[in-house]
């Protein structure tokens, strides 16, 4: 590309065919990836180490190039024109003696930085090429062809903190404080309740007694309460029979169920 450029920079008169060739060059310019790319390729054409490059010479080269390109194509990319303006400024800085009043960076500093940028870009291009020249996976070396599925076994562990625990308990207890939950169970007699009541009474009953007489007071009228109390009392009776404390009998199906204290048996 740099050769083409040099050839192009010698164009002076513009015949139609020259113009076409020059246009082609402009297309080529667009092919450069930005002014730095163009500068780098110009710099390389100086055939010196990028660190020793003459930035002044490079700036002149670039400006001449842009000038020429602009004659042909005014709509040159803004990037190139900005670079041209900056290089023109740099060139003046490099040529004029430094102004002691000026606090900005010196021409030499600016030029050094541009040289650094060019060298860095050049270096990155070199290593990019080296990188791509490496052996690559699925091209030069290969991964396993037959792979085995790894079954994922998910194990879930649960955590809770002491605070969670205490808050949960507080929540429950607090709920109890305010919720008259007894009402919910108002019409339900638990077996434990029935048992407690029966244990107290059983000692006095020496003869067969209908278990319905063991229903607690106030549980016989409401059908709902009576049902629950009867069931609980019956279950409690069975329990007491199992413990060997009472005998239990029923004459026939649906006949009253009777219990009586088991004779001559002390409670342990």
């Amino acid at each position: 590309m740099s050769d083409e450029f040099q050839a192009e920079s010698e164009v002076t008169s513009l015949s139609v065919s020259d113009r076409v060739a020059a246009e082609a060059l402009i297309v080529e310019v667009d092919g450069y990836e930005g002014p730095l790319d163009l500068l780098l390729s110009m710099g390389r054409s100086q055939k010196v180490d990028l660190r020793q490059i003459s930035i002044l010479h490079l700036a002149e080269q670039y400006l001449a190039f842009i000038e020429q390109a602009r004659d042909l194509r005014i709509e040159l990319a803004a990037d190139y024109l900005v670079m041209a303006a900056w290089l023109a400024f740099l060139k003046s800085r490099l040529l004029l003696p430094p102004d002691p009043e000026d606090e900005g960076p010196s021409g030499e500093e600016l030029a050094a930085h541009l040289a650094f940028q060019l060298e860095r870009l050049s270096a990155m291009r070199d290593v990019a090429a080296k990188l791509m020249a490496r052996d690559q996976l699925a091209r030069d070396f290969f991964a396993r062809g037959i792979t085995e599925d790894v079954a994922r076994v998910r194990r879930v562990t649960y955590t809770a903190t002491l605070l969670d625990l205490m808050q949960a308990y507080s929540r429950i207890r607090t709920k109890d404080d305010f919720r008259p939950y007894v009402m919910d169970r108002g019409s339900i007699l638990t077996m434990e309740q029935a048992l407690e009541k029966m244990r107290g009474l059983i000692g006095f009953a020496g003869d067969w007694t209908d278990i319905s007489s063991y229903l607690p007071d106030g549980w016989s009228n409401d059908p709902k309460k009576r049902r629950s109390a009867t069931a609980a009392t019956f279950a409690a009776s069975l329990e007491l029979a199992k413990e060997g404390k009472i005998d239990i009998r029923q004459g026939e199906t649906f006949a009253p169920i009777q219990i009586r204290r088991k004779a001559d048996r002390d409670e342990r």
């Binding site: 290969f142 991964a143 396993r144 062809g145 037959i146 085995e148 599925d149 790894v150 079954a151 994922r152 076994v153 998910r154 194990r155 879930v156 562990t157 649960y158 955590t159 809770a160 903190t161 002491l162 605070l163 969670d164 625990l165 205490m166 808050q167 949960a168 308990y169 507080s170 929540r171 429950i172 207890r173 607090t174 709920k175 109890d176 404080d177 305010f178 919720r179 939950y181 919910d184 077996m191 434990e192 048992l195 279950a235 409690a236 069975l238 329990e239």
Partner: protein, 212 residues
């Protein structure tokens, strides 16, 4: 590389080299490879059948083995190492509200029956919740209660104490302490004097904050 191939058109590579080739091909190919295909892919003059014998021997007792699959050959995991082909991932989740409440009740009331837990919670306790706590080894069965039906009871385990940093379940703060720690609801129970409310406000200093 292409030079090697050129050469090999005239002279087959040494057997050790052929073995390497077979090894690489079997490793990288997505399907078992037949002898015929090996011959097609290896330089001219190679004898993959012989190379396979060597290779097979080399892998004897290793973590993978050279095996014959139909007419073709492949490298496969040694059968005794199949258990390695699973990955266990551990996920940590917060305990559900039902579970933490049940656990709290067991901790505070142990030994406690399921009926008692339900009584305290005011809702039924699902079997899954109990099972989960048992599986976590935070609760276990205690002695049966000497009440009708001899229901089983639940108690907390040493693992529970360990997890929650307690020496004994008795170290759990009582209701009063919970209240003064601001862990209990501030609404005064109906009919109770309001001064308790003030007490609670005083006691808001959260006793357990640094443990959270």
């Amino acid at each position: 590389m292409s030079d090697d191939r050129e050469e090999s058109l005239f002279e087959a590579p040494p057997m050790a080299e052929q073995e390497r080739m077979v090894e690489a091909i079997l490793f990288a190919t997505a399907d078992p490879v037949s002898i015929k295909e090996l011959m097609g892919r290896m330089p001219h003059g190679c004898e993959p059948a012989e190379a396979l014998v060597h290779l097979r021997k080399r892998y004897e007792g290793r973590g993978v083995a050279v095996v014959k699959v139909g007419d073709a050959w492949a490298i496969r995991t040694a059968p005794d190492l199949g258990f390695l082909m699973q990955k266990e991932t551990v996920e940590t989740r917060k305990l559900s509200r039902a579970a933490i409440e049940t656990l709290a009740i067991v901790a505070y009331h142990q030994p406690v029956t399921r009926a008692e837990i339900e009584e305290i919670r005011g809702v039924s306790v699902s079997r899954g919740t109990i099972d989960q706590l048992i599986e976590l080894e935070w609760i276990r069965f205690g002695r049966r209660k000497l009440t009708p039906g001899r229901p089983v009871t639940f108690v907390v385990t040493p693992g529970f104490l360990d997890h929650f940093g307690l020496e004994t379940a008795r170290d759990l703060p009582g209701i009063k302490e919970l209240r003064s720690a601001g862990l209990l609801d501030n609404r005064p129970p109906p009919g109770e004097p309001l001064e308790e409310d003030e007490d609670e406000d005083d006691g808001q200093a959260p006793l357990f904050e640094d443990e959270a």
